[in-house]
């Protein structure tokens, strides 16, 4: 392989406690490959800004040293990040949203066979702009996707992201958002539908560095078979960020005896005039509503599917684009039918 193993984060690191990337990559034989994006390598910022203090920049650094695929985006777009069997990819997306604009970008992550995609997405949202960022991640059984997103949100701007994790494989979806200007908003939502031996890790850091900022996280995970779900979310409110309003919610539904969910929602707060809270639940499907529906003639599989759809609905509400929201609803329905 083209990288040294000691540059891969190990489970000894607090931020990788629940995700064993070294094990996922251990026996893969990969060769560096390209997606064929152009872009000027010299424009690349090598370090994850602000992420240094969390000591979790190894994958960013690795991407910076390896990348040959760079794409600059400033308007609506649909991007595919697909890997082929045996590939090791290090793509980098650089998204710049100009002041006052409103753009939507959809990313589709998938692949065939055995591969590792170590992607970095760098986003800068200028004043009063709106950026809607939608993603579907559907990897293959032996696919590894480590996705590091860094976003800076200026005064009055808004970042709205939604991620749907389906498929299989090993996924680390890491988002580091920095609220840089007054009154900026960061809304993150996601649905993780996990099956077989899939591993999906959502790790979020939101840094409030300006007053009157708002942030919202809504994540729903459904786990079956031997799936392993991880949610780590951190809201870090700096001293200057008075009047911050931060909320974080993680709900997980465990459907099989072998599935595992690890949740670590964190609050780190240094400003006194703030409203920050988080809620996390892990549990099974409620028996009472199931019984209620069956008593009214709805067959059990249908009743279960209905309950799971309802469970995910709150996260879908964060999607502003109706067409994409509808697609996501269909994806959930499809996932449920295939497992009924």
């Amino acid at each position: 392989m083209s990288f040294a193993f000691e540059n891969i984060p190990s489970v000894k690191s607090e931020r990788w406690k629940y995700s064993n990337l070294q094990r996922a990559l251990k026996d893969l034989s990969l060769t560096p490959a390209r997606l064929g994006w152009d872009g000027n390598v010299s424009l690349l910022s090598p370090h994850a800004p602000g992420a240094m203090e969390y000591g979790d920049t190894q994958l960013w650094d690795l991407n910076a040293s390896q990348t040959k695929d760079i794409k600059f985006i400033t308007s609506n777009d649909i991007i595919d990040v697909s890997a082929k069997d045996g590939q090791s990819l290090s793509p980098r997306l650089i998204i710049d949203v100009k002041a006052g604009e409103n753009i939507t970008i959809i990313e589709n992550h998938n692949g065939d066979g055995v591969y590792w995609k170590n992607a970095v997405v760098q986003i800068n949202i200028e004043e009063n702009a709106i950026f809607n960022h939608y993603r579907t991640i559907e990897e293959s059984e032996k696919g590894v996707n480590t996705l590091f997103t860094h976003v800076k949100i200026a005064k009055g701007a808004s970042y709205n992201a939604f991620t749907m994790v389906l498929g299989d494989g090993f996924v680390r979806n890491q988002i580091h958002a920095e609220i840089m200007g007054e009154g900026a908003h960061c809304g993150l939502a996601g649905v993780n539908l996990l099956a077989s031996t899939q591993h999906a890790d959502t790790t979020i850091t939101i840094e409030h560095q300006a007053p009157h900022g708002t942030s919202n996280q809504t994540y729903k995970s459904v786990l079956t078979d031997k799936a392993h779900g991880v949610f780590q979310g951190k809201v870090h409110v700096h001293k200057v960020a008075q009047k911050t309003d931060g909320y974080q919610l993680s709900n997980a539904l465990i459907l099989s005896p072998q599935a595992e969910m690890d949740t670590k929602p964190e609050l780190e707060i240094y400003a006194d005039d703030v409203k920050c809270s988080h809620g996390a639940t892990t549990g099974k499907l409620d028996d009472d509503p199931l019984f209620y529906m069956r008593a009214r003639g709805i067959p059990e599989p249908v009743a279960r599917a209905l309950l799971i759809e309802a469970f995910c609905a709150q996260a879908l509400e964060c999607i502003a684009d109706d067409v994409f929201a509808q697609t996501m609803r269909e994806e959930i329905a499809k996932w449920l039918t295939s497992r009924a």
Partner: protein
């Protein structure tokens, strides 16, 4: 014109100080300074310990030399010079004493000043209002006396210092010591295992409800010493005990170390209620001095339907590193953790709990209230772990933080790990400041800003404080107010 009475002045002066900060002048016997195998042997010899215990200590010591301090807590801990302290300090002439009446009056005076009832005669003579609470008083490295032993013995309860237990009940000690917290658990627990000097031992026999509250009062007095106490509480089948722990130390400019280990064992249907009011010297306003409080507390609900409940009020110490935990092994067992942690000035606290669900139908409840003022930093860190066999396990966690001032920090770091589909886990956390409306409302009614603050904070902590036994609850409420003195304005 001001109308301030002398009483007001005295009150203000008394609450602005760390009340327990005085020093008792008494001749002490020290071990040589520093830590090595000979010191461990010396402590063991002083205590006239059997060979197996010395071997255990030495094994712990050899492990300790290889271990590194835990680094994961959100604490800034200056490097500790383990060689710059005395590991054994006892008041002279302790050996000859047979009853409490013979204890040096200066020591008795110390406890009287701290408000700790060491005299049982009053109660036995029927003096009205004298509290019926058995106390084990630990002064630096030794227990100076235990009250109400005879009365407790009538119901079969053993309550004595751990040194006496080693002599009188070696089988019980040998069976349980290190069974919940193995000596290699972490560096601080390991150090304790090597050099622990005293602590309390409690055994409640089958079916006995302990007739009174038991308590241990720890006093660190001597300079340059560390206190390493070890507490072991065993509740046999169907037994019940409520145990309280209090601690204070003199005000000093240098830091002192307190590394305790507490082990609780609850058999079938037994219940242990463990309450702590921790008021070690927190250091001065500049952050100079204070106690490093590195404590390993863990209980195991060994039997079915057993229950362990931790309640803690943490107001003292320069640095607190403490996670009272429950291993819920027996089916239908229950664990509870109620905590108030208050930090002011330059204090740092990283505290919380661990609830390990192993048995089926186990339940746990965590209520943690964190209050940060001044330039302090306070973290709640808690783990809820559901093992595969813990069918229908249930957890509820609530963590609330209150920030007073814009130079402090409050953090919440919960770890929630579930490997069972039938388990139900809930976690909630909030962070906020004291509402201006509430303060305004109080002030409008003639309550000063500081008093209003104390009132609101006490209300914020109510869920936890009401779980403390009566005598402690009053004390704790007062402490809550005092700890926040000077944090307004």
């Amino acid at each position: 014109m001001s109308n301030i009475t002398q009483e007001t002045i005295d009150t203000v002066q008394s609450i602005n100080k760390y009340d327990a900060g005085f020093e008792t002048d008494i001749e002490m016997e020290y071990s040589p300074k520093g830590l090595n195998e000979d010191i461990v042997r010396l402590i063991s010899k002083k205590k006239n310990e059997p060979q197996w215990l010395l071997d255990w200590r030495l094994k712990a010591f050899s492990y300790w030399q290889k271990m590194t301090e835990p680094q994961w807590a959100k604490l800034k801990i200056p490097p500790i010079d383990y060689q710059d302290a005395y590991y054994y300090a006892a008041p002279k002439d302790m050996k000859k004493i047979k009853s409490l009446d013979e204890v040096d009056p200066r020591i008795l005076e110390t406890y009287k000043k701290l408000g700790i009832p060491l005299r049982e005669q009053e109660v036995l003579l029927g003096v009205e209002g004298a509290p019926t609470m058995a106390v084990d008083a630990v002064f630096d490295s030794v227990s100076v006396g235990t009250t109400f032993r005879a009365k407790l013995k009538e119901s079969g309860v053993i309550f004595c210092s751990i040194s006496e237990a080693v002599q009188d009940h070696p089988d019980l000690v040998r069976k349980y010591i290190g069974s919940v917290v193995p000596f290699a658990d972490n560096k601080h627990a390991c150090l304790n295992s090597a050099v622990f000097t005293d602590g309390s031992f409690v055994y409640i026999p089958e079916g006995v409800r302990c007739p009174m509250e038991l308590s241990t009062y720890f006093r660190m007095n001597a300079k340059n010493t560390g206190q390493f106490e070890r507490t072991l509480i065993i509740a046999d089948k169907g037994a019940y005990v409520s145990y309280l722990e209090g601690c204070t130390a003199p005000m000093r400019d240098e830091n002192q170390m307190h590394a305790a280990v507490v082990e609780l064992i609850a058999h079938d249907d037994a219940e242990i209620k463990y309450s702590t009011v921790q008021n070690w010297y927190p250091g001065d306003e500049e952050g100079k001095g204070g106690i490093y409080n590195f404590v390993t507390k863990r209980g195991i609900c060994e039997g079915r339907r057993s229950k362990i409940s931790w309640t803690q009020v943490e107001t003292g110490s320069a640095i607190t590193w403490k996670y009272p935990s429950c291993i819920l092994k027996g089916d239908y067992s229950q664990g509870e953790f109620y905590s108030v942690a208050i930090t002011n000035n330059h204090q740092q606290a990283d505290t919380g709990t661990k609830m390990i669900h192993m048995g089926a139908n186990t339940r746990s409840r965590i209520i943690a209230k964190t209050i940060s003022a001044g330039q302090s930093d306070s973290t709640y860190r808690g783990l809820v772990k559901i093992m595969g066999g813990a069918d229908n396990a249930r957890n509820f966690t609530q963590c609330d933080s209150l920030l007073i001032g814009d130079k402090c920090g409050a953090h919440t770091v919960p770890y929630i790990e579930s490997k069972n589909k039938s388990a139900q886990l809930e976690h909630e956390a909030t962070t906020s400041k004291i509402s201006e409306d509430q303060v305004f409302y109080c002030q409008q009614r003639g309550i000063s800003e500081e008093e209003a603050l104390a009132l609101i904070v006490n209300g914020f902590c109510r869920d936890v404080l009401q779980n403390l036994p009566m005598e402690f609850a009053v004390e704790a409420q007062k402490l809550v107010s005092i700890s926040l003195e000077g944090s307004v304005g």
